[in-house]
């Protein structure tokens, strides 16, 4: 097993090796224990400054990263594009370089454009962590999903995971497929044909349009959110109506009971209750949705800790 990450930025799952992922998980185990202590804070990153740059809305990921950073004792600055100079026409590289000139060592960035994190890593001198770039990747979400499966089932290798819903617009789906494959899981993508990307079959996954078959096949169902903001208005673009979507692809109590077996239910959030999943299932005994959120902090602490490990004191900005 490797004891150093094979990458200096976390831009996507693509660049991680299975050994890297295993290292992140082992480190996250340590942080899970830290998070259960009476004082949930360690001094590891106390001389590191991290900028959280969110050019797109986020609640869970931003809070999760911020908590992870604060529990590692890092200094944190937050930025969201709503009230910034990007609105005045400043370019991404200029914005980030301005922030870096104030001596920031690491950048956590969410951006609506695919490839924004890779672009940034080539043009600025700081460690970059991709917190979601458009429809491309969301690596920490995939890591925490796989970590949660590992925690719940004791392994990832050989587990059958169905990723259900709006695959086309989902960076979570792509990162999950890459991560699960690296760890030896089998993956099926399931959703309406209009929300299935053309490249799906090249990912080496099974593809299905039948929700019941997908659920019957899998051990774990990761139900994705219908991204209403990317559907062109009120969802008319990709399927006739939310009601029809819920009937064909929504996970409700009746559909779950018809399976006649237990499967693990996951959802990366935020949930459209009554559309892709009903409250009965989301809050039910098979759901590990809140465990995912809890594990998210530990996994992000591990990523920050391991990336900062290669950071020489005070040199990131020189």
């Amino acid at each position: 097993m490797s004891d150093v990450l094979g990458t200096t930025h976390l831009l996507g799952i693509d660049a991680l090796s299975p050994a890297d992922i295993e290292l992140i998980f082992r480190t996250a185990d340590g942080f899970k224990e830290v998070l259960s202590r009476p004082i949930r804070k360690v001094p590891s990153l106390r001389d590191v400054t991290i900028a959280n740059l969110f050019f797109e809305n986020s609640t869970r990921t931003r809070i999760s990263f911020e908590l992870a950073e604060k529990r590692l004792s890092a200094d944190v600055v937050n930025f969201s594009s709503g009230n910034s100079s990007t609105k005045k026409g400043e370019t991404l590289v200029d914005t980030v370089n301005n922030i870096l000139s104030m001596k920031v060592d690491m950048v956590v960035m969410r951006h609506p454009d695919p490839g924004a994190a890779v672009f940034l890593s080539r043009h600025v001198k700081a460690r970059i962590i991709n917190a979601g770039d458009g429809t491309h990747e969301h690596p920490t979400q995939a890591l925490l999903d796989a970590y949660s499966i590992r925690e719940k089932l004791g392994r990832v290798k050989g587990v059958k995971v169905a990723i259900v819903g709006d695959i086309l617009h989902s960076r979570v789906a792509l990162s999950n497929v890459l991560c699960l494959h690296k760890l030896g899981a089998e993956v099926m993508l399931c959703g309406p044909s209009t929300l299935m990307p053309k490249y799906a079959e090249h990912l080496g996954v099974r593809v299905s349009n039948n929700m019941d078959q997908a659920l019957q096949w899998c051990d774990v169902a990761n139900v994705l959110r219908i991204q209403l903001e990317r559907q062109g208005g009120d969802g008319i673009g990709f399927f006739p109506s939310l009601r029809e979507y819920a009937m064909l692809f929504g996970l409700d109590g009746d559909r779950y009971r018809r399976l006649g077996k237990e499967i693990v239910i996951m959802h990366p959030g935020p949930i459209n209750r009554g559309v892709e999943i009903t409250s009965e299932i989301a809050d039910g005994a098979s759901s590990i949705i809140l465990d995912q959120v809890e594990n998210g902090v530990a996994v992000r602490m591990a990523v920050l800790f391991l990336l900062a490990g290669g950071l020489e004191r005070g040199t990131a900005n020189k």
């Binding site: 224990e33 202590r37 004082i39 949930r40 020489e312």
Partner: protein, 181 residues
């Protein structure tokens, strides 16, 4: 260069036993004492101490925990490889306990500094005392001294002290190695 053995089976057992007796002599009883071993090698010593203390006192309920200090180290970004965390098994609050902090070798004092820091995340102990099997004198970088010490060793920078345990390494002994540069 061959490793020099500085403590072996017979004397090793006696030393561990003496430390147990010293602890009992000082405290009278162990009802309010918690033994905390530091990962990775201090826990091997702490487990042995717990077993010995149980035999001597006949009391099977010695309070015991294991603490990993990886995230509290002050040098984690200066090491060539990232430290991989060990397991912390400490499921009680240390509020009010008299803690015996246990490690196998005391060298620069930095591990103990990190251990004290990590310890305080579990509450406010009434007191903390340090017990080590080997004290490498004259090599301290911080003002930290042991309260209980098995044996003091005068060693120089290029040397390395290794404690081996029957349970994990096959036999009880302390070795002084010359590190190749």
């Amino acid at each position: 260069m061959q490793a020099l053995s500085i403590l072996e089976s017979g004397a090793f057992d006696l030393t561990v036993r003496r430390l147990c007796l010293e602890l009992i002599e000082d405290r009278g009883h162990l009802g309010d004492t918690a033994l905390i071993g530091l990962q990775p090698r201090g826990v091997l010593f702490a487990r042995r101490l717990r077993r010995e203390l149980q035999q001597i006192t006949g009391d099977k309920t010695i309070t015991y925990g294991e603490l990993d200090i990886t995230f509290h180290r002050d040098d984690f970004r200066q090491r060539p490889v990232t430290a991989i965390p060990g397991t912390t098994a400490l499921d009680f609050s240390l509020d009010g306990w008299r803690v015996g902090l246990i490690d196998d070798v005391l060298y620069t004092g930095r591990t103990i500094r990190a251990g004290l820091d990590a310890l305080l995340a579990f509450g406010r102990p009434r007191s903390v005392e340090l017990m080590v099997l080997i004290d490498r004198r004259f090599s301290r970088e911080l003002p930290i001294q042991p309260d209980y010490c098995g044996r003091s060793v005068d060693s120089i920078d290029g040397q390395h002290v290794t404690v081996e345990w029957k349970e994990s390494d096959g036999q009880d002994r302390v070795l002084l190695n010359q590190v190749q540069r």
